[in-house]
């Protein structure tokens, strides 16, 4: 029983095949990595799972539900959340507001009740604020609650993006290069952090990463993509010794 399963998904842009016949299988509570050289199609694979792109061929299943043609917001409602390679925060909004937006999909009061501040809405709002504050505390962002997102240092922006994704109550969290731009010390902290949030929020995590240290340290299983094709799959030590992988990363010589 897989939580996420892709069945031969392929993405073509014009003549270019970005991802070809990708088969991913991710079980509940796993931490799985997706690696490969630049331009191998990793982010494209993410974009297909979250429906930013619709695959040219193949299907995607989440808890056995075919989600291939769903809209991105429907996918998030089902319990898949993501972060972006080039951080996409709501820059002019405060840290708290960013996380509160992540709660909006569960708001049940209609707009008019929110404007009239009906008891039903106020209860929801109170709950949202409490939940968001807790999240920010868990992610060590409670000292910057009222800062605008753009003013945060890089590392905190990355963490805020994760906090915002967690606010949508995901079951599966997709992280697109969470360690990009971090130094080794920060990367080690990130590894611990990823383990922590998995336990705390009962998550399954699927991540793209370049920094080998992070990938090998945190992932239980790894897929290696090259030119849109899976060239290897297995646990970190298998991957490190796989000649195809070494070749992909080192070039031929």
């Amino acid at each position: 029983m897989y939580m996420l399963r892709t069945d031969n998904i392929t993405m073509k842009f014009g003549g270019l095949v970005a991802v070809s016949n990708l088969n991913l299988e991710i079980k509940q509570n796993e931490i799985v990595g997706l690696i490969g050289p630049n331009g191998a199609g990793k982010t494209t694979a993410f974009n297909m799972i979250t429906s930013q792109y619709t695959p040219t061929e193949g299907s995607i299943f989440f808890n056995n539900e075919d989600i291939t043609s769903y809209k991105p917001y429907e996918i998030t409602k089902l319990g898949i959340a993501r972060t972006f390679q080039n951080i996409k925060l709501f820059k002019e909004m405060t840290v708290l507001e960013n996380v509160l937006v992540g709660n909006h999909l569960r708001v049940r009061s209609p707009l008019i009740l929110s404007v009239l501040r009906s008891p039903m809405y106020l209860r929801e709002e109170k709950h949202m604020v409490e939940k968001s504050m807790n999240l920010l505390r868990d992610l060590n962002l409670d000292d910057v609650v009222n800062e605008k997102a753009y003013s945060l240092p890089y590392g905190k922006q990355r963490r805020l993006e994760i906090a915002r994704a967690l606010a949508t109550d995901p079951k599966l969290l997709l992280l697109d290069e969470p360690a990009a731009g971090m130094n080794p010390q920060e990367s080690i902290e990130l590894m611990n952090f990823i383990h922590e949030i998995r336990e705390k929020f009962d998550l399954t995590i699927f991540l793209i990463e370049h920094t080998m240290q992070v990938v090998m340290g945190v992932c239980e299983r790894i897929y290696v993509l090259d030119y849109g094709v899976t060239i290897a799959e297995g646990n970190p030590s298998d991957i490190q010794n796989n000649p195809k992988v070494i070749e992909a990363y080192l070039g031929v010589n």
């Binding site: 842009f13 974009n47 930013q52 792109y53």
Partner: protein, 297 residues
């Protein structure tokens, strides 16, 4: 309706369509390079007409000298507008530049009212363009014959410039990638200025021809043609010069022919272009000849 009457309308439609095409090219070139709807383009067209008017009436120049002077002045003005109102906003959000363009447009129109006066002015038509000619059984005012011819000549010239010269090459390169163009040592600001100059030149030609076809000038005369020609550019596929010409012809012909065959719709004449625009945007947003500019997530 006889075949003669049809031809009569057709000649009128083609001449209007050619005028639209001349103006639409300016929109499409600027949009191709800057991704900007130059809202003021219709007003530049208006200025071209007025400059020629004053050259011929106040300064009593021979018509062809006056036309050349007017066209040159309009081109210079187009370049100055770019420098003052658009260049400082090169790194700003798209909509800011658009708002600036709207500001320029209103500024020119209201300055037009202040300087030229709000009352219509009769354009002094040189004899060559005012003659009534008879071809077969149809009567044509010579200007309606000259408009498509002149539009065609300018179009050929423009095609040569864009496809064969180095500046043209740079323009095409810019329409794809400003930064890489810079890395080739191209003076991007200069090429953009040329583009505005060229677009304004064509608009001036259009303005003068318009003045002779409908021999009236007034400060708001650029508004409707301006909007319609932008639509023509979108219909043809924005950024594509052949597309702009095609779009201009389609809108001109649609407008004249609908009114000719369905006189009840005369009052809705100005709405056709907008309805066409909305259909195109929904059915084929890239236009008839446009390329797909996919956005990346």
């Amino acid at each position: 309706m006889t075949f003669e009457i049809f031809l009569q309308h057709l000649s009128n439609a083609v001449s209007l369509g050619s005028l639209y095409a001349l103006i639409a090219i300016g929109y499409t070139m600027v949009y191709g390079i800057l991704r900007l709807i130059n809202f003021a383009h219709g007003d530049i067209f208006m200025l071209g007409g007025y400059f020629a008017f004053y050259a011929l009436t106040t300064f009593l120049m021979p018509w062809w000298v006056g036309f050349i002077v007017a066209i040159g002045l309009t081109a210079l003005l187009g370049m100055s507008i770019e420098k003052v109102a658009y260049r400082p906003l090169r790194d700003s959000p798209k909509v800011s530049v658009l708002i600036s363009a709207i500001g320029v447009s209103f500024l020119i129109e209201s300055l037009g009212v202040v300087i030229f006066g709000g009352i219509q002015k009769a354009f002094p038509i040189p004899d060559l363009f005012g003659k009534v000619m008879m071809i077969g059984n149809i009567y044509i005012v010579s200007v309606n014959f000259f408009i498509p011819v002149i539009a065609f000549i300018f179009l050929v010239g423009l095609m040569y410039l864009i496809n064969k010269t180095k500046t043209g090459m740079a323009m095409r390169a810019l329409s794809r990638d400003h930064e890489t163009a810079r890395l080739m040592g191209i003076d991007v600001d200069k090429v953009i200025a040329y583009t505005f100059g060229l677009g304004s030149l064509l608009a001036a030609v259009g303005g003068i021809m318009w003045g002779m076809k409908y021999p009236q000038l007034y400060p708001l005369m650029g508004v409707m043609p301006g909007l319609k020609c932008f639509i023509a550019a979108v219909v043809g596929g924005i950024g594509n010069i052949t597309g702009a010409v095609l779009g201009g012809l389609i809108i001109g012909i649609l407008e004249i022919m609908t009114v000719a065959f369905l006189p009840d719709l005369t009052g809705y004449r100005d709405a056709f272009a907008f309805i066409l625009l909305i259909i195109i945007l929904l059915v084929k947003p890239t236009g008839l000849m446009g390329e797909n500019l996919a956005e990346k997530v």
